[in-house]
Symmetry: C2
Subunit: 232 residues, 2 copies
């Protein structure tokens, strides 16, 4: 209704709670080439990260969105940097990290890349084939090591089993302030759907269980929680 | 202009040159899972195949479009079957092949699949990792072996070098009636662009060099050539 539209508009104008803050959001999946035609990737759609970038921008933050592969339209008032591989993503995130207040790493970064990328399309020949992979840099861990006390760092854990346990371990191991954990094997959670079911776990041990909700709503809840914890 | 719109409409109504024909089109890239999150795929966007399906339907054909992964909207008047892996694609194409007049295989089918797909997300641990692949069935070759003299079979060759030579070999080897060859390393050709630069090579040895053109235009040229050759 018109009344709701106006109410939303006024609320948005008023809630400039991230004004003056610089926020980096990484989103979507990266791609690691095998040859000029083939690649390894993952099912991340980018919807969660784009929703967070949109919400942070609407709260007045200066947002840098470093995005892997997705067809989602660029959000308004966001600096969008499109990348393909994990190492490209790392380069742009690290370029912006030093003066950044909040970093939210929702991208599904490829853990491994192909050891030797072929410069021409590989012809199929043998009945079997092996692809040798080497580990990519752990971008999130690197940020956790270098972040200052004033910088707030958020990771994501998309798992198919032991979600909470694994997420808590990752928060510790990578020196995060918050981790958003979801079980991507559940219907309505995870990849390429508009909803999510997540646990927001913070460094102080608090766990917020978010019910099935729109990713746009979850983005608000994540940013509300970050603001609440940073202002403590 | 309105005049052009009406002209186009009348032309479309008149050109029912594929009325009574059943056409299978395969389009887009297939995906081969590594685990529930990661997969191997390729850069095919599906634009060429969708353009062919659209054009064939507008000429009155009964069109079955067996499509891998793409965000393109389903064309009108086409039976769309969405699949993920090469083996799924094979299943649906073979289901429809027996009573089909024209089969146009523009999909970029994964040559290999992962030997053992993990049922849970693989945790990264080692510095290096190898993925073992096994060959997928060669769908096009299988169709070439079983096709009757009345069935017209078209393949595509997306190459980065020795395009024409390789395409001619593929036409022979797989018993095709036509192959559409393009050099995907050229600007304006190949993956995820709206244009293409292709060679249409037919069994009789004729080669049509199509200049840079919209994929919708190339679709018309391909179907014109098929109709011309079938009516000889």
């Amino acid at each position: 209704t018109l009344v709701e539209t106006i109410k939303d508009y006024v609320e948005k104008q008023n809630n400039q709670s991230l004004k003056g803050k610089k926020v980096i959001v990484s989103a979507a999946g990266t791609r690691e080439p095998i040859d000029p035609v083939r690649y390894i990737s993952n099912r991340s759609s980018g919807k969660m990260g784009y929703a967070i970038a949109t919400e942070a921008a609407s709260r007045g933050a200066e947002v840098v969105l470093v995005s892997g592969i997705t067809n989602i339209k660029a959000p308004e008032n966001v600096k969008l940097i499109k990348v393909e591989s994990a190492r490209e993503m790392q380069k742009y995130i690290e370029e912006h990290f030093a003066d950044c207040d909040i970093t939210i790493m929702s991208a599904a970064v490829s853990d491994y890349r192909v050891k030797e990328v072929a410069s021409q399309k590989i012809k199929k020949s043998d009945e079997v084939m092996t692809i040798e992979l080497v580990k990519n840099p752990d971008i999130l861990k690197g940020l956790g090591e270098k972040k200052s006390d004033k910088q707030y760092l958020v990771g994501f854990a998309a798992e198919t089993q032991n979600v909470e346990e694994y997420a808590k371990g990752k928060l510790q191991r990578k020196n995060l302030d918050m981790i958003v954990a979801n079980d991507v094997s559940q219907a309505g959670a995870g990849f390429n759907v508009d909803t999510n079911i997540a646990k927001i776990i913070t460094r102080d041990g608090e766990i917020k269980q978010a019910p099935l909700m729109q990713k746009a709503e979850l983005a608000k809840l994540i940013l509300d929680t970050i603001e609440e914890k940073m202002n403590k």
